[in-house]
Amino acid sequence: MWLTETDLEAIWLTLRVATVTTLILFAVGTPVAWWLARTRSRWKGPIGAVVALPLVLPPSVLGFYLLVAMGPNGPVGQLTERLGIGLLPFTFWGLVVASVFYSFPFMVQPVQNAFEAIGDRPLEAAATLRASPLDRFFSVALPLSLPGLITAGILTFAHTVGEFGVVLMIGGNIPGVTRVASVQIYDYVEALEYANAHRLAAVMLVFSFLVLLILYVWNPGGKKR
């Protein structure tokens, strides 16, 4: 095998972080997207802007805030210590929490668009048939927006795989725990081990291309032929 054992460890860790993050974001992001799609509240604008923040903020800002907030003097750190979880930086779950923030808009926005595209009529029709709000959500809205959900899932997963700056700032570069593939590549480049860097970088490139290829060829959100 031309990838080293630590490379495989880093790839496996990256896939685990991305999978767990995507699953959590399905659970957390979908209700937020639903609310944003259906609400007429004046908070829609501000909340939508907050959701989009990670798109604009440099990872260094996000990483810095997370490091301070999850530290022993930060609000999140004090909460997790009181709950007996300990401090999150330098742990697998710390990375997951950071990734959830980092990838939040990549889940919420496509799902919100899908929900908005359904429009009111199918839901009103379901309501006249006495479907409860929860029933309407699970039996009508979710199936109709399945392509959007799948797009969101793929985007979230891929974006988390590509995460680098935030992980670098809160990870502590621990093999098997926080040293993801992007950090591993960075280490190789810094250490002048360009051959190793090339191999792992090529794997990332091919992987990213394949993910996007699936998305574009299959095109679940696009026009029906």
């Binding site: 022993p72 401090l87 330098f90 670098l168 700032m169 502590g172 570069n173």
Partner: protein, 250 residues
Amino acid sequence: MQPIRPVLAAFCLMGVGSAAAEKAQIAVAANFTAPMKAIIASFEQDTDHTVKISYGSTGKLYAQIKNGAPFEALLAADQKRPELLEGEGVGVPSSRFTYAIGTLVLWSADTEKVEDGPALLESGDFNKLSIANPKLAPYGEAAVETLEALGQKAAIEPKLVRGENIAQTYQFVDTGNADIGFVALSQVMKDGEISKGSGWIVPSDMHAPISQDAVILNRGKDNLAVTELFAYLQGEKAEAIIHAFGYETE
């Protein structure tokens, strides 16, 4: 358009007025940021030259230089990269010298945490020990050598977190996410003493010296600002600044 002309004229005059003044663009290892700023301020006052500095990790700066970055000199955090550049014909032969020798300190943001360094490391009474990545940073290498000298390497391994460079290593400790860490004395020293938290200065016989070398690059070969800066770095004024920031010199 009218108001712009006087400004343009002023610029032209400035160019003519300081014929001897040159501009240098140099790359400096991140750990030397603070002393370098002080040295450049002093240098620019004493000469007509201006110096633009880019800070970064030595590995990144090296890769950038190899790929055509417009730097005229490199002040690295180690000896390896300047040696390589010299060997590869990118650095000017015989311009290389050791401008500073770093001092390692076991440090905590808590003012009472570090009293007896070796005893603390042996007791294991800390959540994490932050070190710079030994593969990338000379301070990390020195930290590992110190742990080995103390016979604590294996015991502490599970508690290690690694900063990408010495600045991040310090960040982990300063924010309290790691109780203690091996950082550069220059990061916690002000006016000749450790200015916050608590620290144990690692005796220099516990690790190989952290020698930081500088080298002039081919682009800067004929730039007076660069050669004069290199002479200045070896002079008394610069030496005093370097010492005040917790570095030794040869």
